[in-house]
Symmetry: D3
Subunit: 125 residues, 6 copies
């Protein structure tokens, strides 16, 4: 089980370009949420190897604004496997481009369900 969790860990480095910014010159929160959901969805699918649907996201906490010209790493990891649902914990780390600074800036949990071709819930494992 642990190796399966390890193997499905999913990472996505992104660089903040002008097209990702809001009117205040920082990463738009909704874009961060979209990136997190994409990473969570890939993590869940790579773990279960079944068709997954988003059930909910838990509290998404924005700790610090993400500025233009920084690098973001979004990391998704399986945190709980229930019968027909799975929980993915996602963190966004911010890395400055020209220094070694790296810090956690957003954190959230997403729940997915596994479904069959008739959209009925099926066991995750």
């Amino acid at each position: 089980m642990d190796s399966r969790v390890k193997k499905s860990e999913t990472r996505q480095f992104r660089i903040i370009f002008p097209k990702n910014l809001n009117d205040q010159g920082t990463l738009f929160g909704g874009t961060a949420m979209q990136w997190m959901d994409e990473v969570a969805y890939i993590t869940a699918t790579r773990f279960a190897k079944k068709k997954m649907v988003t059930v909910s996201s838990e509290k998404v906490q924005f700790l610090l604004p993400i500025k233009s010209g920084t690098i973001a790493e979004i990391v998704g990891k399986v945190s709980k496997v229930k019968n027909v649902t799975i929980e993915i914990h996602v963190v966004i780390y911010l890395e400055e481009m020209y220094s070694d600074l790296r810090q956690k800036v957003v954190e959230a949990s997403f729940t997915f369900a596994a479904i069959n071709n008739f959209n009925k819930p099926i066991p995750i494992i």
Copy 2:
């Protein structure tokens, strides 16, 4: 106060096009979250007329998948005004294109803080 809440209510109709779909042919959950955050951000700004930053989103519940060729209405409304933060309740309604069916498909709450030009929290009202 009530009239200010009413006046800042923010609506956004969207139509689901192929560019909004995931690999299963339904609206990608992350895109729904991005739309909700945009509507919530506009609602908060139109109410407070101050610079707002996203603090967090509460549980986002996906009740039903949104198919291609349907219409979505995202509605944002002020639900709580605290000292330096404001809570916006957002709902996505799904409307079928060729029938009168309309139903609630996603629901969430977002919290924003008002900040001054030095990024310090200031009163909402």
Copy 3:
């Protein structure tokens, strides 16, 4: 009839982000036209509940540039119902983020036809 016109009125709030700007730092005219056509298409479909195709847009008048960091509301309303075509009047209002200023900035009319599954024109009502 009037209530059907009222019910199909379609609103879309948007916020101007860097990705929407031209090289002069204002909303690109073509993007404004795309938003207006989307709102007009939704308005026409919500009124007729039939498959609609854009036939033409009438004169689109750009009254004022829309700057970054402002809010736009695009409003579509049925203005004329003919036999097989329908006319939608669309206005973009600009709202400043941190003041009560609101003014009309773009205005246009779009004509749509209702078609059946063989792409033949059919009555709107």
Copy 4:
């Protein structure tokens, strides 16, 4: 003058991908308008070598739907030079990928004004 008109003629080939489609599987009208405005803006700027702003578009006529998997050529050409405004005629031609069929599918005119750094109208030539 004629050579200047000829030299500023502006062409843009595009291929229709899923991201450009509406829910009916054809090119979304608003996207066609955005492409035409971009080509018109480039044509006007290449002719006048001055800062241009869109004043209006005249009637945009959609003659035929543009399907996925076809090629579009958007062609912009100066059609009238007045004192402080310039008119650009834009046509979209559709080319089938695997045959020699080529036909006109959309046609429109755009008017631009030349402005100085204080946003005041200045002569085109």
Copy 5:
């Protein structure tokens, strides 16, 4: 043959908007590559009138950065026709908006193969 090469020449004018920029305020290299591949693909298809797939790109040389508020023309031309593959030479020219300066800024070659409906290579001509 020469007239067929001439007829399939494919041009695409683009204007550099904020959404195309990297964090340094210049056109993101990857976006330039995407535009070149699109133009090369259209050129190959318009020449062969067959289903084409990208086999490879040769060295892509970035000679100069492309700044915001400039115009790019991407030009694709058939440079070699082999049995089952075709080579397209692509150049990006940069044009300043308010002067007559025009210079070559990126250059590359792309190879495409013609395939049938079973994805098997077939002769280009």
Copy 6:
């Protein structure tokens, strides 16, 4: 040195959605190139912690088409450090969503230069 190479290794998981497809229903080659350049740029920057510009890409080889509903992992790794330039090797791996199949589908090398604030080349290390 080796640990610095290891530490700057950069991974980006993506899922292929309709918006990424060409007219043949597979990942558009130009989009793959854009993703590879983004990952290469982040890898180079994370290694050198200096301002980097793309100098060139070497031959990009497309081994297999990438279908909708598959997962792609783009991996960038420093492969050569010269005086003022650095070479990044990038591979795209394809993972099927519902099986354990994983295979290499695209491979390329990108060269970047480090520059100072006057755009003059400076040593990588």
